[in-house]
Point group: C2
Chain length 253, copies 2
DNA sequence: AATAGCCTTTTGTCCGACAAAGCCTGCTTT
DNA sequence: AAAGCAGGCTTTGTCGGACAAAAGGCTATT
């Protein structure tokens, strides 16, 4: 048992990043505000431009500021940060299995649909209907089906009116739903069953029927799992890195 | 509807970061491996050291590499990234309410305890027992009680054997459980009830009793909420930024 | 008013340099 | 000969200055 922690001398670029972060977290700088040019920061902080730039990289990667087309630097919506992508990547590096993804999705997506039953508004319901229409029209195109399934769940998450839950489900969803494409490709009847399940879920949410919405969400996910196994995959195998790299790079933009 | 996406010309430092990231994600560089000195990277990539350094900042902040005491750079365990902290910060910036935190915790912690019923091993159960002992000995110290409560739920999450779920709950937990201290301070009987609930949860997990574990976890969380309200707080108020800043900075180390 | 061309600002990258901190190696001391 | 120390080497963090290319703004032309 040591008495003292190691002393960490903060470097200049870290202090630059922290100073700007403090302004954002405190609310003195709001999303959309400009940070100023690098030269301006050099003047204010009294450090070299290289140092300022390193600090900016930290903030950029932290999702606090954004630079558009190598131009002005401004505070960005905290949502935008692409943090989920990085969590997903960490999960892949830990060799998590599809079972873990599935079990987590079961917990989170059922929680989401419960919230949606209480909070879904007309606009989101309309968006869900539109998603459903497109899904029914595209049951023979695995790529589009996978995208629409992913969007369906994202819309539902938005509809549940809980931003914490919405964000909590994102990393798993990013790894989970892309497999839908593979499933649809190998299990022909999969897309049809999915469309049917979505239909029931939407109806249950509209009818504010908690129990029914839960039931159909569970059924929908169990179906996904069955399809996964029928497509010849093993539920306890880790999410492969190559696949994940592809899926995540697509989502990053 | 535009036909083409904007073309993004990658800058050199981004390519440096991506090149190293690719090695890590593909598994050719494993946690613990050294990346090499800045000078070595300069030679290999044929770019300036400033450029390499900017790339390194990106990777560092992304939680892929770590530099210890301003010394050698090496690939780090994906878990370490401190990403949850940043998600929590984003949530605070979005002014999420305690209700959102609570509802999410309800979904996730119940999911966690279900997993724990199936997967908890002897070592974790022992750790939970030890946590319980310390909790019962400290019911009069709000600071310690809050820490132990937070640890209790983290242990349970570890016990559930699902790293995806474990990581999904972290951002909410980081914002949620610190309030326990405030509650214990203002509601004297709170800590005792908490110890009792923990006791029942541990026993239910040990007995592999799914339904009982669920029931007590729900009860435990509902209790937290009652305490929150009895402490004079409003469940629909946003998590304050000052509080969050304090809580998160503590957790970062 | 719209456009083309010019000028200015800003970013991305490069070069070279140096102090401070860690690491290593060889020397001194016991 | 082993342990301890000092000095030298390596590497990081920071600095100052420089320049091409892109973006933005301004003016004159049609």
């Amino acid at each position: 048992m040591e008495r003292f922690d190691r002393i960490k001398v903060p470097s200049a670029y870290e202090m630059v990043a922290e100073a700007i972060e403090a302004e954002i977290v405190s609310g003195r700088l709001r999303p959309g505000d400009e940070i100023g040019t690098e030269a301006a920061l050099v003047r204010q902080f009294g450090v070299n431009r290289s140092t300022v730039r390193e600090g900016i990289r930290v903030l950029e990667q932290g999702g606090l500021v954004r630079r558009e087309a190598s131009r002005k630097l401004f505070v960005c919506e905290p949502r935008a940060g692409g943090l989920s992508t990085r969590i997903s990547r960490a999960l892949v590096l830990q060799d998590v299995t599809f079972r873990e993804l599935f079990d987590t999705a079961m917990v989170l997506e059922v929680g989401v649909v419960e919230g949606a039953v209480f909070h879904a508004d007309a606009a989101t319901l309309a968006a869900l209907e539109q998603n459903q229409e497109r899904l029914e029209a595209a049951v023979n195109n695995p790529v589009v089906v996978a995208e629409l399934d992913s969007e369906f769940h994202a819309l539902l998450a938005r509809a549940c009116g809980n931003r914490v839950l919405e964000m909590a489900r994102e990393p798993a969803a990013l790894l989970f739903f892309p497999s839908t494409e593979m499933i649809c490709r190998r299990v022909p009847e999969g897309a049809g069953r999915m469309a049917q399940a979505h239909r029931f879920i939407i109806d249950a949410v509209k009818a504010r029927d908690l129990e029914l919405s839960r039931t159909w969400m569970r059924r929908h996910l169990v179906d996904w799992r069955k399809g996964f196994v029928r497509a010849g995959r093993e539920i306890d195998e880790p999410v492969e890195r190559i696949f994940a790299r592809y899926a995540l790079s697509k989502s990053q933009s």
